[in-house]
Subunit: 447 residues, 4 copies
Amino acid sequence: MEQTQFLLPHEKVFRDPVHKYIHIENRIILDLINTPEFQRLRRIKQLGTTSMTFHGAEHTRFAHCLGVYEITRRICDNFARNYPSKKTGDGLWNDDERLVALCAALLHDIGHGPYSHTFEHIFNTDHEAWTRQIITSPQTEVNQILRHVSSDFPEKVASVIAKTYPNEQVVQMISSQIDSDRMDYLLRDAYFTGTNYGTFDLDRIMRVIRPYQDGIAFNIEGMHAIEDYIVSRFQMYQQVYFHPVSRGMEVVLLKLLQRAQFLYHNQQLTDEALPQLLVPFFQKKISVTNYLRLDDDALNTYFNLWRDHPDSILRDLVHRFLDRHPFKSITYQPEQIDLVNKMRDWVKDAGFTREFYSALNNSFDLPYDSYDPSSKEPKTQIELIQPDDTLVELSTKSDIVSALSGHFTGDQRLYFPKEMLLDPQNRTLTPYLQNFQEHINNNSLVN
Amino acid sequence: MEQTQFLLPHEKVFRDPVHKYIHIENRIILDLINTPEFQRLRRIKQLGTTSMTFHGAEHTRFAHCLGVYEITRRICDNFARNYPSKKTGDGLWNDDERLVALCAALLHDIGHGPYSHTFEHIFNTDHEAWTRQIITSPQTEVNQILRHVSSDFPEKVASVIAKTYPNEQVVQMISSQIDSDRMDYLLRDAYFTGTNYGTFDLDRIMRVIRPYQDGIAFNIEGMHAIEDYIVSRFQMYQQVYFHPVSRGMEVVLLKLLQRAQFLYHNQQLTDEALPQLLVPFFQKKISVTNYLRLDDDALNTYFNLWRDHPDSILRDLVHRFLDRHPFKSITYQPEQIDLVNKMRDWVKDAGFTREFYSALNNSFDLPYDSYDPSSKEPKTQIELIQPDDTLVELSTKSDIVSALSGHFTGDQRLYFPKEMLLDPQNRTLTPYLQNFQEHINNNSLVN
Amino acid sequence: MEQTQFLLPHEKVFRDPVHKYIHIENRIILDLINTPEFQRLRRIKQLGTTSMTFHGAEHTRFAHCLGVYEITRRICDNFARNYPSKKTGDGLWNDDERLVALCAALLHDIGHGPYSHTFEHIFNTDHEAWTRQIITSPQTEVNQILRHVSSDFPEKVASVIAKTYPNEQVVQMISSQIDSDRMDYLLRDAYFTGTNYGTFDLDRIMRVIRPYQDGIAFNIEGMHAIEDYIVSRFQMYQQVYFHPVSRGMEVVLLKLLQRAQFLYHNQQLTDEALPQLLVPFFQKKISVTNYLRLDDDALNTYFNLWRDHPDSILRDLVHRFLDRHPFKSITYQPEQIDLVNKMRDWVKDAGFTREFYSALNNSFDLPYDSYDPSSKEPKTQIELIQPDDTLVELSTKSDIVSALSGHFTGDQRLYFPKEMLLDPQNRTLTPYLQNFQEHINNNSLVN
Amino acid sequence: MEQTQFLLPHEKVFRDPVHKYIHIENRIILDLINTPEFQRLRRIKQLGTTSMTFHGAEHTRFAHCLGVYEITRRICDNFARNYPSKKTGDGLWNDDERLVALCAALLHDIGHGPYSHTFEHIFNTDHEAWTRQIITSPQTEVNQILRHVSSDFPEKVASVIAKTYPNEQVVQMISSQIDSDRMDYLLRDAYFTGTNYGTFDLDRIMRVIRPYQDGIAFNIEGMHAIEDYIVSRFQMYQQVYFHPVSRGMEVVLLKLLQRAQFLYHNQQLTDEALPQLLVPFFQKKISVTNYLRLDDDALNTYFNLWRDHPDSILRDLVHRFLDRHPFKSITYQPEQIDLVNKMRDWVKDAGFTREFYSALNNSFDLPYDSYDPSSKEPKTQIELIQPDDTLVELSTKSDIVSALSGHFTGDQRLYFPKEMLLDPQNRTLTPYLQNFQEHINNNSLVN
């Protein structure tokens, strides 16, 4: 059996502020952690520009991946102890699946690049595709270690992450509306940002989670803990992930990378200013090796070198990013789009290149959704197990989840330099600034 | 009065996991935080290589400096409310000192470079001297902002940090055996490493701290909170700061930077491998501007570029550092130094360059010391105020502090590659390895 | 000014697990705490029978009252520092109101009897009326101390609690949809039960609360903290206050007291079994002195003495209460009332006196409500202050509050002895039990 | 095997603020909890009069006993999983011992009476003897349930508590210098008092504890967690258990019970004032049934009834106790005993009966002690297991434990009515009071 063959003689532990300890019992897991590909995640922040708003949030994808692994390990332990499968198809847990679950949990984010979403947007990369490639390419150490288990093991692990693995219990542990990934990041992001909105009772959920036929379900006595998780998720999106100032830094980063790309293609990013590790991305010829060399530190270092660059827009955006001068923002409604465009014109009139100094940014999230087969990406709904062993969908039992269910939340914002908000007592206020400011009230666009 | 002149119309806050909120009431403080010099501290980890052992410990000097500021602000608030000076020399608190105290607290670490202690050791820099220079050099933004207060204000702030400022109360807030700096780092390092040894009751200490004649003292009812702080400090040193694995990474880093310096002076670190931002350090011609351009990210990025360098020692050390393969260690006693040297010879015999692959590393700390005028650096002792208003020194009242007082603690270790500890069941164990291993028992050197 | 006249030379503190410290600055407050009337609250549990379900919840009304006082004190401190009134009618805070607010906060629950709601139900007492009487009757020490402030001060304090005091800011601090009372009990009950649902960010709320014209409002930046409070309140009701097992103990207590009353009036509770301190309640001749002599301990002691009483129903109910054998329950819908009655008949058929061995118990709560002038008891709604200083009602801005607003939540249950649920494998199952059990599925009544 | 025979079909849990959940897997344990003898512990506070100083400390022996059970259960789980005995005498864990260990843990305090130490002192009872009797007397439900396991099982359980059980591993789990009992009460008392001195890393200790030959030992990697536990224990004694104000209430209680006893024997405690449940104690004819009828509530209720008693000393002491007016105290040195006696004379001269209004009270504790076979009660020392599997005694490895080891700590105090400390500005200060006060400085007796 895979999971006993590689047992370490003594369990190893990592101290972790969220789970207290990460417990490693299997040599394969320990060896995966020690690969350069996995260690690279120490140099990629979990929340990108959010640390510019919440200065504690310097935690890395390395820590998060260990956390997802640990939660998955606890679920497997619980399942193996309390719900061991006796025969195929009995809907219980087959502990032969443990190792593939643990490896998928550990590696699910291994393809993340620096400042993920912004970076992907500019360079059109996809961290999920890279995760798959890092796991299945023979040139990575991760792949070599996984092959110690069996030659098709890397493919198996990749298919769990791709949600095509046949055992739905394994897939749902790692990707569903309540999975190890989300549970870890909510708790971890709450801890490191110092907000307490993201906390919920993980121990309680660990006690009520159960394998159930083709997936995972929860004993109904634990419903309030699940509710609390849904509410926490909702609040973290509102309070942290959608924070307008972090998005203001993200917009600056986006514009900065766009400007660098533009300059590169105009041969203005050369010699000492040439970002060697970024060149493959500018040229859209990216190998696994190139991809894995890049991290947050490299981007910041290039930005630092560009502080003296002759291009004043690049220099200015670098300064705004490294020295933390986020773009400001206001909310607007879809029907105000013409006025939004006027506002962007006034930004230009005030002397800023419109393309690099104004932006629209939307953020929307669905806190929970019951199953809708007609949706493009139907979500796995959360099922509760009643005393008579029948299932019931969460939102039919929970007032609060029902209230939040299927209800999009978020806002759309116009971003611009804070210079547009010059103190109105300043006598030299130009007509452009005046026009601009007259359309803002309570941080919203007004007609 | 300095501190009211610059009051912000609305207090600003930063979310902080340790203090919940950092409160900014003064424009000077806000402007200092927004300087490039202060923002750079976001890219310098508080604990250097410790994050390789405690993966949560990615917190930065930026966060720590805000924390020291916040504790100092709370002390000033307490002093101003409860112990306001009525006339010069009454030993109470003159709130005109608040702004200089706050600025010194905020800026006390601004001269720290990347991976502080290791870096200073190699390049012979001194973060305290740099702190002074950054504060007093007219070319920094920090200096310009401080000069808004008065032309001699930068010098005043620098003198607080240098402990030459005439008001001892201000000096002791920031540097004494129980000061804002230590209180913040113990709490912060405990939070981010996830150890709970560093926690003590800051709120209680904030209630019993008092200005007292030429310094600071504590109401005796708070003695147990002070004891707890001393014990926490002791435990954090033992558990975190002296952790042998972090020191094993520090040794690798030291050797790596030494090798890079060696190669630079031998013209082997050129072209794409040339670390532009490090060159002034190799050449020992460092300006404030050069100094401030450097951060942890730059070092990591150069290391990453050197993964392909032709020098095999550099390549190997880079791999050990970035991919986390710390040197292993054993403790030894001073009288075993000859055997230690033999051990280092066996490391060489096993094929490793002795200079770059073995090292001695000592760590010793004094948890608390009562005043000893004959000592080279006499420490300010901690004084308790009794009900009849007389002072008494802490260790005379506290059994536990008396037990720890004046008692050095720590260990000395020999570091070497983990390859020296190859599994003894391995048949091809060379005689060198065999000799080496025979002198190790319970992680200590044995004769 | 009232509040400075009575200042203590040194602040006194009480250690408190929820607020860390309760700070007493005023002699009147300290003297009120030291009265027998207030000390009696140490012997009245905050949550009555809930400690039978959550064994940590042994905390008392004494602790809660100190907590409400402390939150009120913090609000006053904030108001006095940041929003001091300059002239009458400016809608800001007049700190002359501090002492009346603090006294009302401290004393708001002083009229509570043992096992409050159950006791009031049986003996038709009203803790609010008793609170008023204890404050205004010249024979209490509380009254005498309040009169040190001024002869009409007791009446003022009582009118704050009765919500008839003219200054609405003072009234709303202590009674509104987000007041010191609720904030303390949610945090305190969460702490002592060991649930984490009741936690919210009190510090944040303390920073955004403001006096506003005729009441209290909150800066809109703090909206998420208010949301979190509403959600916590909702969850505590669902998880703790409405817990079916605690209600099962409450039902036993109710029946026990009813039986005792019945026996008293039948001259069957005499001699050693006579509960001296309860006699005035049985006879409906209750003086302030009688009322204040009673506490939880007295009731428990009488129950203990009745363990040997000749009446078998009293003995049995005492045993169920003291040795914790709660009645069991199922939920039902209003339209099932006929079936409910049949179920109660089957309880009787099984050998239990219907009146003392079955009961209906409903629990419903409104998590938040916006103002509805047509309602019988219109609630003060929660108002947010926007950047342009206009007010907006909470549920119009908050998705989650809007979802919960005006939405009753709770259930109705039928209670009965657990003997009705005898294991069905028991062969001697009578037809009554069989009928009874056939109408239960998933803890609900089924037709 | 005992422990599988009685397994519950579904684990039952109790919410606990300290351990989050108490897990019950065995029907015997659940049945023991449901006995009247065990439920009585809900009405006995864990810390007696300490709740008068720390108002949160209302927690009961019921909660503590569940906690000791839970820690023991976790140790057994760890031992069974990681150190299962293969053959007799291998020094590993035989899981057949689990049930006896769990029962002993749960029941170890079942013989505690109300306000333990004071009560025992007055009535010469011994809670350990009562524990044994409750477990072994056939008339208790506890005994009947234990006999379901086997007829000699009650004796076995009692012998574990008496430390005469042959398996030393079981004995040391529950009674040694680091056992389930102490670990629970330190954590629990810290939680409910709201002090944070008592916290240490239980999870870490649970990971490093091991069966070892004839007892229990700890892996040396966990040494710092053990140190922290020793320090916490030290601090809780200093800060909480020896608190002079709680001892001031204890002294009042002692005098109050002595007075009641005196009055009973003088036929002055009769009719309505007769404390039925105490009579057997006054008469020294105590049966198990009498003993188990008594609890804190009964004592408080009798005290309440005595508020109107004709004896003015009894009335006054009742008032001091119920309304919390502790005796005040000063420390003294053994050599000052003559002066102490003079002070007591001045108390008498001031109008207080010397016997009932002055008292000496000592408190001393030994934080840790290594084994000393010559001591009257030699303590089990704490042993660490080194990498080569040899044992080493804790204080030889730990600087801080070595500092505290064998070092008694505590103080001796003279207690007296606070009236002896009348404000010296009071003109009518009698010569007795003046003499008395002149010998007090900094809360200590001075010659």
